[in-house]
Subunit: 68 residues, 2 copies
Amino acid sequence: MNISDFIKEKRKQLNLTQPELAERAGVGLRFIRELEQGKQSVRLDKVNQVLALFGSEIGVIKKDSPTF
Amino acid sequence: MNISDFIKEKRKQLNLTQPELAERAGVGLRFIRELEQGKQSVRLDKVNQVLALFGSEIGVIKKDSPTF
DNA sequence: TATATTTGTACCTTAAAGGGTATAAATATG
DNA sequence: CATATTTATACCCTTTAAGGTACAAATATA
């Protein structure tokens, strides 16, 4: 599970739209969209802002370890 | 263990200087420095470029989970 | 299937990340 | 303690992430 899919999935679980998630996370709508579409060159702090809503965050893992 | 410390530690283990790590990872020297100093607003893909040298990568974890 | 909602794409602007280089500070080594 | 090596800071420049808005495409709903 990659970050993009994780976020999309968690958002769905909470029945939030992209604008709602952006609002709550305090990031721009476009950021959420690009993030969910797998953009790699995103800022770490912004990603963590979003993940914080789900009780998770970015961390270092071994390659091929299951995330979360 | 946060990302900054993890990278600094791994680099030391391999007896690399910051310029050497930057060279190998294909990122700028300044990026390595800011990264090791805990800068949050770094690009995810660049971080992964560095972590790849250590056989690790960025992933989503639960808050307060031990990383790596 | 028609309509409403949600998501994705495109354009523009602004702020700042990333890079190079030079130099100062800190650390290691003899 | 003196010197060499490594790391941190400061400067400038270029690139681009992020945000806003508008519109198109896709998906859900009636």
